[in-house]
């Protein structure tokens, strides 16, 4: 596997020290990393999965609309950040790999690196009251 861009490496290293959940994907939406606080909400340790294609992680961590109905993928903040290149925020539900449904608020933004390289997107999120 090729080495990731330095901006992603540094962001992962920062994320490992943060107490807020962080979820990092590449330009194709494939999962690169999530940190320990995210593991608690996603119900699965990153070390057990490693990097995952978008289709795989979206099946394991099922995002829903806030009311629990199926979510349109284009409505998800992370997808918006990836596809529009602009920050996005939103509320949604997520069913983790442990089968538990949680409500979260998400702020996502594109990872635009040095020289305006598109490196993917990052989501930071919080668990909220349902």
């Amino acid at each position: 596997m090729a080495q990731h861009a330095i901006e992603l490496i540094l962001f992962r290293q920062l994320a490992e020290y943060l107490s807020i959940p962080v979820f990092l994907v590449d330009p194709a939406g494939d999962l690169l990393f999530y940190n320990e606080p995210a593991e608690r909400i996603l119900g699965l340790r990153f070390e057990e999965t490693g990097e995952m294609p978008a289709a795989e992680w979206s099946a394991r961590f099922k995002p829903t609309a806030p009311d629990g109905s199926p979510a349109e993928s284009e409505s998800l903040p992370l997808v918006k950040a990836l596809t529009t290149g602009r920050p996005a925020v939103g509320r949604l539900g997520i069913v983790g790999a442990d089968g538990i449904r949680r409500s979260i608020e998400v702020a996502a933004w594109p990872m635009i690196g040095h020289g305006s390289r598109n490196l993917g997107a990052v989501a930071m999120f919080w668990e909220t009251e349902a």
């Binding site: 596997m1 090729a2 080495q3 990731h4 861009a5 330095i6 901006e7 490496i9 540094l10 992962r12 290293q13 920062l14 490992e16 020290y17 040095h114 020289g115």
Partner: protein, 278 residues
């Protein structure tokens, strides 16, 4: 191809009796490709003596700057080949997010810091990193590596093999258990299986605790990084200006004893050369 070290010191020149063996000049390494072409890695104070030593047969000079900290550019104004319009001289180096390479270099190459302006020199500027680029008979890859401000490392490939140059590099920054997997390690792809890796070795293990984030490696981290990258020969470089020759010998020996690499480790000494692929 012959690699010659003209400046091995980091941060600031450190001449004196205590640095005679490894040298006091700041970063500058010569890759003598042939009698017509020379590639120069950084333009620290060591480049002044290199300028006096090059033969009259040189027609092309490529200076690859890793970054624009003073210890890597201070010798530029004293390198006569930048004032020889009949030669093909190119400076390669990183822009920043908001300034071109020319704008950044001109901050130093202009009064009051220096009497000669960059625009008065006979030199082409090319920005890195970008796509791989070719020099005659060579393929050069550059990429950002961990160090404050835009900083690149270089991988130079030719019929002689692969030389990788990362004089200022802190791949262990923020890593609890260094090294991580190759894909999450700064500089890995540049250094992977290099025949010669010239790498930052500024600090001792004990010193690092108070210097995290300053952009440099400990000697142990350097050896661990080289092991991860499966290099064939490691050349510690960019020595702390306070490190005496005897201190350096002891510190590197300790790092080697701790990490037990299977490849040779040869600290760069000013004036010393390594022949590759001859």
């Amino acid at each position: 191809m012959r690699i010659t070290f003209w400046g091995t010191r980091g941060s600031i020149a450190a001449p004196g009796p205590e640095t005679l063996r490894y040298g006091g000049n700041t970063s500058c390494v010569e890759l003598r490709i042939n009698e017509r072409h020379v590639v120069i890695l950084d333009a620290g104070t060591g480049i002044r003596r290199l300028g006096q030593a090059l033969p009259d047969t040189i027609e092309r000079v490529d200076i690859l700057l890793t970054h624009l900290h003073m210890d890597h550019i201070q010798g530029m104004g004293f390198f006569p080949y930048l004032r020889m319009p009949h030669l093909e001289v190119t400076l390669w180096g990183p822009a920043s997010a908001t300034m071109t390479l020319a704008e950044r270099l001109a901050r130093y190459m202009s009064p009051p810091l220096f009497p000669v302006r960059l625009r008065d020199l006979s030199v082409r500027l090319r920005e890195v990193p970008g796509a791989e680029f070719d020099l005659p008979g060579l393929k050069v890859t550059s990429d950002y590596i961990v160090h404050p401000g835009p900083t690149v490392g270089y991988r130079i490939e030719g019929p002689f093999g692969v030389v990788t140059y990362m004089p200022d590099h802190e791949p262990a920054l923020g890593v609890r258990d260094f090294p991580l997997a190759p894909e999450w390690t700064s500089g890995h792809d540049l250094a992977c299986e290099a025949d010669v890796l010239i790498h930052d070795s500024q600090y001792t293990h004990a010193e690092y605790a108070n210097r995290v984030g300053w952009g440099h490696s400990t000697m142990r981290q350097m050896v661990a990084f080289a092991k991860l990258c499966r290099v064939k020969h490691l050349v510690p470089f960019h020595f702390d200006p306070a490190r005496t020759d005897d201190d350096l010998d002891a510190s590197i020996a300790a790092a080697v004893a701790h990490e037990k690499p299977e490849f040779p480790v040869t600290p760069a000494a000013e004036g010393a050369s390594i022949d590759l692929g001859n």
